[in-house]
């Protein structure tokens, strides 16, 4: 029940924040802050000491919480939510970045602040729902519903080209989502053919015997939806526009958590539901991953717009997640989960920085920056920290993540791992380039610019501590994710043999 309450807190909190505007224009952000803090405390409070076991289910993982209420019996749809270590990590990340997003929009929004905060909270609710839903229909519902507040955030509070960006974002995700809906329904009807009852529950659909051709197409439906969200290489074109045009808080949410829903979907649904098809598909997916790593990095280097640069760097970093997921061994999967968390934090921080710069300078063009370190040393230091985090400096979370992914990948596809490692080099180039352009050199014009204030420094400090912690002592996160990864690997066994086949095929082709 507590998971449902968590989502309801966020939904109701949105309404409160919206209406709070009537009393005082400053009230909504306090209300939103309060709601997220309450949600976070509630989540920690309601965690049980020991995992619950789903006795009825042979494929039981290590579920911390599980809830199933009948909803639409006609189609065997239930309100089924469950939380394991992976969901927990991601939900906590969501709420923490929600706090960051509220902090980053603190003084930026002066048009209808109540509705803004409400949309922010509703997005958080939708994302939490995605991470918790284990009924495929419910999952799809959250998947689509979280788009609407996000669309409104971009369309109402975005920058100069917001209508184009918001529309592109929505159409890309919605159209690919429709294919996923189709795939979900096909899968459920296969389940009906197999055991005589229609059900959309994840547990009922796991381990279905599928006709290979059908499995292949269905898997593609899921993959496309998740690859668009991730975004994987050829489907990424919505991302730079949406991230650049969104208000700061919107970019933080998009990069920090919305992209992770794609990775989560691949890990939780796409690969376990279609193990054979996914393993056949793995070489292609990994190829797309490598392409994303390199392509994102190269394009990031070519940008003069601060936010666009960070957006393309996201394409590059999320390529590592795709690689880690389809390498499908423990190390790589751990790396992928770590990357989801670490990239969420570091990119959120960079977008917050970009937003702060834009708010102060009214431009995102790095050509018009330069020498900012003199005027705003605190900002410079923060930018330095997160730029080196993003390029994968040892000791910070991103390094652990990318290193694990490369290590795991090397075991299955050494050549791809070698190429992907180039991504680390290019990351160093564009990160340092960004830093040089914006913060170093002589200030080319004298401007009055306020440095980070206490509120912004607090948000930055939280994210710095998080990255340091992830980099120096990643074990707690790995421990949480480990049982999930093991049980997911149990669902898709034979991965290694198929992978060996895939490597052979790749070898014989070359």
């Amino acid at each position: 029940m507590s998971m449902l309450v968590l989502i309801l807190i966020l939904l109701a909190g949105g309404l409160v924040a919206w209406q709070a505007e009537r009393l005082h224009p400053d009230l909504p952000r306090w209300a939103a802050l309060g709601v997220v803090v309450i949600a976070l405390l509630f989540l920690l409070y309601s965690l049980p000491a020991a995992p619950v076991s789903l006795a009825a289910d042979p494929l039981a993982g290590h579920w911390l919480l599980h809830l199933k209420l009948a909803w639409i019996p006609r189609f065997g749809i239930a309100l089924e939510l469950a939380m394991d270590g992976l969901s927990l990590v991601l939900v906590v990340l969501t709420l923490l970045l929600g706090l960051v997003a509220i902090a980053s929009s603190w003084s930026e929004i002066d048009f209808k602040p109540g509705l803004f905060q409400a949309n922010l909270l509703w997005t958080l609710a939708g994302v939490c729902g995605v991470f918790l839903a284990l009924d495929l229909f419910l999952f799809f519902l959250f998947w689509e519903v979280m788009l609407i507040p996000m669309y409104l955030l971009i369309a109402i509070w975005g920058h100069e080209n917001k209508s184009y960006a918001a529309m592109k974002f929505f159409i890309f995700t919605q159209a690919s989502g429709l294919l996923m809906l189709l795939a979900i329904v096909v899968l459920a009807w296969q389940g009906l053919a197999a055991d005589g009852r229609l059900s959309f529950s994840y547990f009922d659909l796991l381990g279905l015997e599928l006709d290979p051709r059908l499995a292949w197409w269905t898997m593609l439906g899921f993959f496309l939806a998740f690859a668009v969200k991730l975004p994987a290489f050829p489907f990424h074109t919505w991302l730079p526009d949406a991230h650049t045009q969104a208000p700061t808080a919107g970019s933080v949410l998009l990069a920090g958590i919305l992209l992770k829903t794609g990775a989560y979907g691949l890990l939780r649904f796409c690969i376990p539901l279609f193990p054979e098809a996914s393993m056949q598909f793995a070489p292609v997916a990994m190829g797309l991953g490598v392409a994303g790593v390199i392509y994102g990095a190269v394009l990031a280097f070519a940008q003069s717009d601060f936010k666009r640069l960070v957006a393309y760097s996201s394409v590059s970093h999320m390529g590592f997640v795709l690689l880690g997921l389809y390498a499908w061994n423990q190390l790589a999967l751990q790396g992928a989960v770590m990357q989801m968390v670490a990239h969420g934090v570091s990119t959120a921080a960079l977008f917050m920085l970009a937003g702060a710069l834009q708010h102060r300078l009214h431009t995102r063009d790095m050509g018009r920056m330069g020498g900012l370190w003199h005027q705003a040393p605190r900002m410079g230091a923060c930018a330095m920290f997160f730029a080196v985090a993003s390029l994968g400096l040892p000791g910070l979370g991103n390094f652990v993540a990318e290193f694990l992914v490369l290590l795991g990948l090397f075991a299955v596809q050494p050549w791809l791992a070698a190429v992907a490692a180039l991504g680390l080099v290019t990351a160093a180039i564009y990160s340092l380039w960004m830093l040089q352009q914006a913060f170093q050199g002589a200030p080319d014009e004298w401007r009055e610019m306020a440095d980070f204030d206490a509120r912004e420094m607090l948000a930055m400090a939280v994210m710095m501590v998080a990255l340091l912690w992830l980099g120096l002592y990643p074990q707690p996160v790995l421990d949480l994710a480990q049982p999930v990864i093991e049980s997911l690997q149990g669902l898709a066994p034979g991965a290694n043999t198929v992978l060996a086949l895939a490597t052979d095929a790749a070898g014989s082709r070359s």
Binding site: I72, K112, M167, L178, L181, L182, V185, W189
Partner: protein
């Protein structure tokens, strides 16, 4: 006729008596407010009487009408939709001269739609269809001082009359071949006789063309945008929801009772028209800056989605699911369409007599009229098939039905069409959320408490159908199995 027969026909009787009463009231005292309220009352009473009539269902009353739960469900739906239309249009028509007869015609049109829901015989089909159409011609032309409604009405009169005549001729040919006019009798006769097969093809083509015209399926859709655009907004809402719904209801009944699914070629043609309608409707809607024209093309696409059902019905195992899907879709579509045109009505009530239906005119509506904008938002999201709205569950039903019959081509057209559709629905939403500095000062729409309550009700019903569809689904299963 026994008392039970009268009970089974109660909704029609209530409507007929109501129409007479309304006529007398108008002759006695001209007062638009009173007539409007009375009309809404009659329609709500008719809707309520369906519950009472359902106690006798199913009951064949004369060879013409069958009062089963399928018919009564749609009678309820049509009467409620007409009641909403009556309440919405009160302010709209009050600005013209002598608006009272508008409500009388509305009741008559609703009665036509209800007869179509009851119809199991060609004669009742034609009676219902003509009662509906003739009332609509007048309703469309009602604001008699402007040129656009007149043009629309004449266009609809000529084309719709031709379509009715075509269908009538088709039925005559069918009668010549089979000697039967009842739907199931036609089905039986088609199975038995081998004579006169030659006229069956032209008969099928003519009947189908006539009915497809009323549904505005491509390529019989050319009247749609002009009529939608020219007709007064509340009438367009009624035309798009009730008139089309009623024709689909009777088409489905004809196919089911006469078992026309055995003619696979005919069903294939239906499927082809469905695909063309989905794609063409959505593509043409992209180009419109006029919301009414956009909704007209989108309704073409929606009729295309709905025709998928006929294709699925070919397999007897999936027939029940397909019919369920069709009913749910019609209910959801009616609520959604009423909401969309309801908004256009509510913002078009200004005394200048001009309709505010351009995209520019809803610009910034969110900040001027939040409740009305929410109504439009919910309606558009429902049309686009976004979860939590009625439209999503309806589309989900259709996808399930199509998957059960393995109709991949139709499914992909559905996905493609919906994908295209998002763009023009979202564009309206984008205009509504534009900030005050991005649009000039516009008219302040009038909206009284009646409009607010209606908007609230429509929003609630669309969301309810989308969030808690269980009870309606159960009811549908109960009446179909």
């Amino acid at each position: 006729m026994s008392a039970m027969d009268f009970q089974a026909l109660l909704p029609l009787l209530v409507l007929a008596i109501g129409a007479t009463l309304l006529m007398l009231q108008i002759a006695w005292l001209r007062k638009p407010g009173l007539t409007g309220a009375l009309a809404a009352l009659v329609l709500v009473l008719a809707a309520l009487s369906c519950r009472f009539a359902a106690e006798t269902a199913p009951l064949q009353v004369t060879p013409l009408l069958l009062a089963d739960r399928y018919a009564l469900l749609f009678c309820t739906l049509f009467c409620l939709a007409a009641a909403v239309t009556a309440l919405l249009s009160r302010d709209y028509v009050s600005r013209g001269d002598e608006p009272e007869e508008f409500f009388l015609l509305l009741i008559l049109a609703t009665m036509g739609a209800c007869v179509l829901a009851y119809a199991v015989h060609v004669a009742s089909l034609l009676l219902g269809l003509e009662l509906l159409s003739v009332s609509l011609y007048t309703l469309i032309a009602y604001p008699n001082k402007s040129i656009l409604p007149l043009e629309a009405a004449v266009k609809y009169l000529v084309l719709s009359g031709a379509a009715s005549a075509t269908a009538l001729f088709g039925f005559a040919l069918l009668y010549a071949a089979t000697g039967a006019l009842g739907f199931s009798a036609i089905g039986q006769a088609l199975g038995e006789t081998s004579t006169g097969q030659g006229v069956l093809l032209p008969a099928a083509v003519m009947i189908f063309a006539g009915l497809a015209f009323k549904l505005s399926v491509v390529p019989f859709h050319l009247w749609t945008p002009d009529v939608y655009d020219g007709a007064p907004a509340p009438v367009t809402g009624f035309l798009a929801s009730v008139a089309k719904g009623a024709v689909f209801v009777v088409l489905l009944r004809l196919f089911l009772d006469a078992d026309l699914f055995r003619y696979y070629r005919l069903v294939e043609v239906t499927g082809l028209l469905a695909i063309i309608s989905m794609v063409a409707g959505n593509l043409l809607a992209l180009l419109q800056a006029n919301i009414k024209r956009m909704l007209a093309y989108s309704s073409i696409a929606h009729m295309g989605y709905l025709l998928i059902v006929l294709m699925v019905c070919t397999n007897a195992a999936n027939q029940a699911l397909a019919v369920e899907a069709a009913i749910y879709y019609l209910v959801a579509y009616t609520a959604t369409t009423l909401a969309a045109f309801g908004l256009l009505t509510l913002i078009s009530c200004d005394p200048s007599g001009r309709e505010n239906i351009q995209l520019q005119q809803v610009s910034g509506l969110f900040w001027r009229q939040p409740l009305l904008a929410c109504l439009m938002l919910v309606a558009l999201l429902s049309l686009a098939g976004i979860p939590l709205t009625a439209g999503f569950i309806a589309k989900f039903y259709l996808v399930n039905a199509a998957v059960s019959g393995h109709h991949w081509v139709l499914l992909f057209s559905l996905v493609l069409g919906s994908g295209i559709g998002i763009y023009y629905y979202l564009r309206v939403i984008y205009y509504m959320t534009r900030r005050p500095e991005e649009h000039g000062a516009e008219q302040e729409p009038i909206s009284d408490w009646r409009g607010r309550i209606l908007s609230g009700l429509l929003i609630a019903s669309i969301l309810l159908l989308g969030v808690a569809p269980g009870s309606l689904m159960q009811y549908l299963r109960a009446i179909l199995h």
